[in-house]
């Protein structure tokens, strides 16, 4: 009885895990039949379901859906070259030797570099750190710097890919200086390559006046409602909006409107009020207004960006205003995560080239310890910075990297000398992120693409159909074979194999794994090997039955006698899969993973499931149980 419940629970759980995949397929099918406005409407109506199921469905690997796989390596040697206080013939020679050796060696670049100094009996402090530092101290410093360089590169790439708008991107670090990027569905590899290797653009931009911000939002609402822009109308508004008069006008109009609203609202319930606002302000309703600005949840973010990019909407956004999202979401008290939508002056006050150094620190002064970031600027930058900060005391300046706002500190006073401190960081983690961003203006160590694989969409489709075909044929042949050879004895095995496939897919979906072409090969191989346990059991039952036992006793003996062999043979295979998973990369890991899941599932289906089927049949119709 317990076993039956266990089996049913397993089946139900797999159903639960595979349901999103099924739903997603349905949505995709509906979307592909609809066009234009219909598809947009369908998307709007089912947005939550589409997004939710998409996230939980069984994902297809790049080899099946097409896409781009990139391995990048941060050039630590160039970083070492840049970090050196002074360069001479000896250092260049050591660097060249290190570069040569690192091409063929496993040793980390820094270790080779350190060894070269040891061999020459030289001190690293000749080029790095303080003159009296021990070699080990300098090594720690260099390791730290190269670690930071990789982190910075990851941050910049992530930021750019986010802006590019590819969904389901995966960025992972591998080893000490490699970054692996997977971009499903990307076909324009040149654009992506440019995106990755460009130098990051760091800018300091002033936030626009809140009133200007509000009036732009109102104008967008009007566009969406199909109203014409009042006042001077059309293009002339663009110039007018920024002028004091227009702001005042907008302001007073706003105030009047609010009065009106409050009058009307006296007779309305909260719900009605919300509904009314929603109708009158289709754009603003998407945003969450707070004391510190406007926010949007992850889901609304794309929709808002889309609206902001609309031709007609762009016309009512003044030329000197630009919108940018916060780089990281902010968590509200109720747990919702939202991104701030900043309205910035389009022209940057200063760009990142002027920054010479940045450092995350703990500031001990004032009330307790505080995470801060200090930054230094070069002479020209310092002069400019003094002017900008002097003219904008108590205003916010946004630190923008590749058009994402990382921080928007308030200017407390005029800063002379280019030495500024940014505070208000929640923790050291956040401070370190900002440090990375500030330094990112120029990548200190270039990122080199060392491996690049692009699979075109048509090859992906080809692979899916061929994979599915060969899988179906292979499965059917095995199923037929088992029934022909064992007659009734093949039926439980067949059922077990079919459920085995379902379980593998379900577990893969549950673990957020990806189904790759080698993965399909792995499942197919599992199908062939999964019947092995049943072959062992069935052969054993035949043997015992032949020796004169009753069917029930033969069944009992068959299962228990075959058990050690099944365990030993499967565990050894599992062992090789684990090793394959450990040493393999990308697609090979996908293969090893599915094979591992397959082996575990087949142990369950072959030992427990088939036995229940055998016993149930033996109870109800004993004459049916024949093994040929």
């Amino acid at each position: 009885m317990f076993r039956i419940i266990l089996i049913l629970a397993f089946i139900a759980f797999s159903g639960y895990l595979l349901y999103p995949t099924w739903m997603d397929a349905g949505h995709q099918k509906s979307l592909s039949t609809l066009t234009g406005a219909d598809s947009a409407k369908y998307y709007d109506d089912n947005e939550e379901s589409i997004r939710d199921n998409r996230e939980k469905r069984l994902k297809l690997g790049l080899d099946l859906q097409g896409g781009m796989y990139v391995t990048m390596e941060v050039d630590v040697i160039q970083l070492l070259e840049k970090l050196a206080r002074n360069q001479d013939e000896i250092l260049r020679e050591i660097l060249a030797e290190t570069r040569n050796e690192s091409k063929t060696s496993d040793e980390s670049v820094l270790d080779i570099f350190g060894r070269k100094f040891d061999e020459r009996n030289m001190r690293l402090s000749r080029y790095y750190g303080n003159i009296r530092d021990a070699n080990s101290d300098v090594m720690t410093y260099l390791k730290d710097e190269s670690e930071k360089a990789v982190e910075r590169a990851v941050e910049i790439i992530r930021n750019r890919i986010d802006q590019y708008g590819v969904s389901e991107v995966s960025i992972t670090r591998s080893g000490t200086r490699r970054i692996i990027l997977e971009l499903p569905g990307v076909s324009d590899e040149r654009e992506v390559r440019g995106l990755i290797q460009e130098t990051a653009q760091l800018e300091f931009k002033l936030l626009t006046d809140p009133q200007v911000y509000y009036s732009v939002l109102e104008n967008i609402d009007k566009v969406l409602l199909g109203k014409t822009i009042d006042a001077a109308g059309g293009d002339s508004t663009l110039a007018a909006v920024d002028s004091a008069a227009a702001v005042a006008a907008a302001d007073s109009a706003d105030a009047a409107k609010r009065r009106e609203d409050s009058l009307a609202s006296a007779t309305m319930t909260d719900e009605q009020r919300v509904e009314k606002f929603r109708q009158e302000h289709p754009f603003m309703a998407l945003l969450i207004g707070t004391q510190s600005g406007y926010f949007a949840t992850e889901e609304q973010k794309t929709r808002i960006s889309n609206i902001l990019n609309r031709e007609d909407v762009r016309k009512v956004i003044p030329e000197d205003v630009s919108f940018a999202w916060g780089a990281k979401p902010i968590t509200f008290d109720d747990g919702t995560q939202a991104f701030q939508l900043y309205s910035l002056k389009a022209r940057p006050e200063l760009t990142g080239e002027v920054i010479t150094d940045a450092r995350a620190q703990i500031d001990q002064g004032g009330l307790g310890a505080n995470s801060v970031v200090t930054m230094q600027m070069d002479a020209e930058g310092s002069r400019e910075w003094a002017r900008v900060t002097g003219a904008n005391v108590d205003k916010q300046i946004a630190i923008v990297l590749d058009n994402a706002v990382f921080s928007a500190p308030v200017v407390r006073q005029k800063i002379i000398g280019g030495n500024s401190q940014i505070d208000g960081m929640e923790n050291m983690e956040e401070a370190r992120l900002l440090e990375i961003v500030l330094k990112a203006g120029a990548l200190p160590a270039p990122v080199e693409i060392i491996e690049e694989r692009t699979v075109g969409p048509s090859l992906g489709e080809d692979s899916i159909s061929k994979g599915v075909n060969s899988f179906a044929i292979g499965l059917i042949l095995v199923l037929v074979f088992m029934v022909v050879y064992y007659q009734f004895g093949g039926v439980p095995a067949d059922i077990a194999v079919m459920f085995n496939v379902v379980f593998i897919l379900a577990i893969l979906a549950g673990f957020r794994g990806t189904l790759t072409l080698p993965g399909i090969a792995g499942i197919l191989l599992t199908v062939g090997m999964a019947v092995d346990a049943n072959v062992l059991i069935n052969e054993r039952i035949r043997e015992e039955f032949g020796a004169g036992k009753t069917m029930r006793a033969a069944l009992e003996a068959g299962y228990s006698r075959a058990f050690p062999a099944i365990i030993d043979s499967n565990l050894t295979t599992l062992l090789t899969c684990l090793i394959l998973y450990q040493f393999g990369s990308g697609p090979v890991q996908g293969f090893a993973l599915t094979l591992m899941i397959g082996i575990v599932c087949s142990l369950f289906t072959a030992i427990i499931m088939t036995r229940v089927i055998f016993e149930l049949t033996l109870d109800s119709s004993p004459n049916l149980v024949k093994l040929g």
């Binding site: 994979g467 199908v527 090997m529 072959v535 050690p564 030993d568 090789t576 393999g584």
Partner: protein, 305 residues
């Protein structure tokens, strides 16, 4: 249906014959590896490759001629499955997409039809070296792991026989792959990551097969404590024969389906698995027990459980 009812063949009595067969194939294989070599794929060699699909059938010779004039070093052109899909590969590695762009431009110039790019890969030699090294490490770690597991679950003597049989399987399959390379049209037997996966899977599969036989030997050793090892092993091989053949057959069927229907990307893998399944089953019937027996005899060891 029953194919192997009451089988009673003296496999171990003829073991010297099978040693000879194995040795002959292995020697032929090694000779092939030495003189002909293995064909390493992009994963191992590094370089740039573009897989293109033409709208009509194209002569491989025609393509070779076109690429020869393109100044791209030694260009290798191979069929990618059909008559319309080809891999164009060079060991040159340019900055970014320079080389693959050059390949595409050259082809575009030579053909008026629209050429579709199916796949584009660029791998630095450094990565190739790493993959090569990892592959060798993986196979050795797997063999050691199996040695330990079998030694622990059975007796050390069995572990030695099993691992020796595995070496035999890997060597045999590797040799056959080398012999078959270039012999069968449309079959790319390049050594790449998928091929490494095939070899490790074959190790797993073959040990699976061997363990089943050993398990029966272990069981019989417990039942017939006084029986000499040789007839007991023979009996074990005979009684497990049906299972060995049946499982090989079902696994073979799935891999044949993959070989013929799975398309180019998995073809090398499927072919290696087909060979591996044959050698794996062969070795668990004719070699693994035989080696264990001879090893036990040489050391005059008595095995009991």
């Amino acid at each position: 249906m029953r194919i192997f009812k009451d089988l009673n063949i003296d496999f171990l009595g003829k073991r010297n014959l099978f040693y000879l067969v194995s040795a002959a194939v292995i020697v032929a294989g090694i000779a092939s590896i030495v003189f002909k070599g293995l064909e390493f794929g992009l994963d191992f060699k590094g370089g740039t490759e573009v897989v293109v699909r033409f709208p009509r059938a194209v002569e491989i010779g025609e393509l070779r001629g076109i690429m020869r004039n393109a100044d791209l070093g030694s260009v290798e052109i191979k069929s990618f499955g059909g008559e319309t899909d080809y891999i164009v590969r060079t060991e040159l590695k340019g900055e970014g997409s320079k080389i693959s762009d050059q390949i595409k431009v050259t082809l575009d110039k030579a053909f008026t039809e629209q050429i579709e790019v199916l796949q584009e890969n660029r791998v630095e030699a450094k990565i190739g070296a790493e993959i090569r090294r990892d592959a060798v490490i993986a196979i050795f770690v797997a063999l050691i792991g199996i040695l330990v597991y079998i030694g622990f679950r059975f007796k050390f003597i069995f572990a030695v026989g099993a691992v020796a049989a595995l070496f035999h399987d890997v060597l045999l399959t590797l040799g056959i792959v080398s012999i078959c390379t270039g012999l069968i049209p449309g079959l790319n037997l390049e050594f790449d990551q998928a091929m490494v996966a095939a070899f490790l899977t074959l190790v797993g599969y073959s040990i699976n097969d061997t363990v089943i036989v050993f398990d029966r030997v272990r069981e019989n050793l417990k039942l017939f404590k006084t029986s000499p090892l040789e007839p007991l092993m023979n009996k074990s091989i005979n009684t497990t024969m049906a299972r060995t053949i049946l499982t090989s057959a079902t696994t073979m069927v799935t891999m044949l389906a993959l070989l013929f229907l799975g398309g180019e990307p998995t073809r090398g893998f499927a072919f290696t698995m087909v060979i591996g399944i044959i050698t794996g089953s062969y070795s668990s019937i004719f070699v693994a027990s035989a080696l264990t027996l001879d090893w036990a005899k040489a050391r005059n060891a008595k095995i009991t459980f």
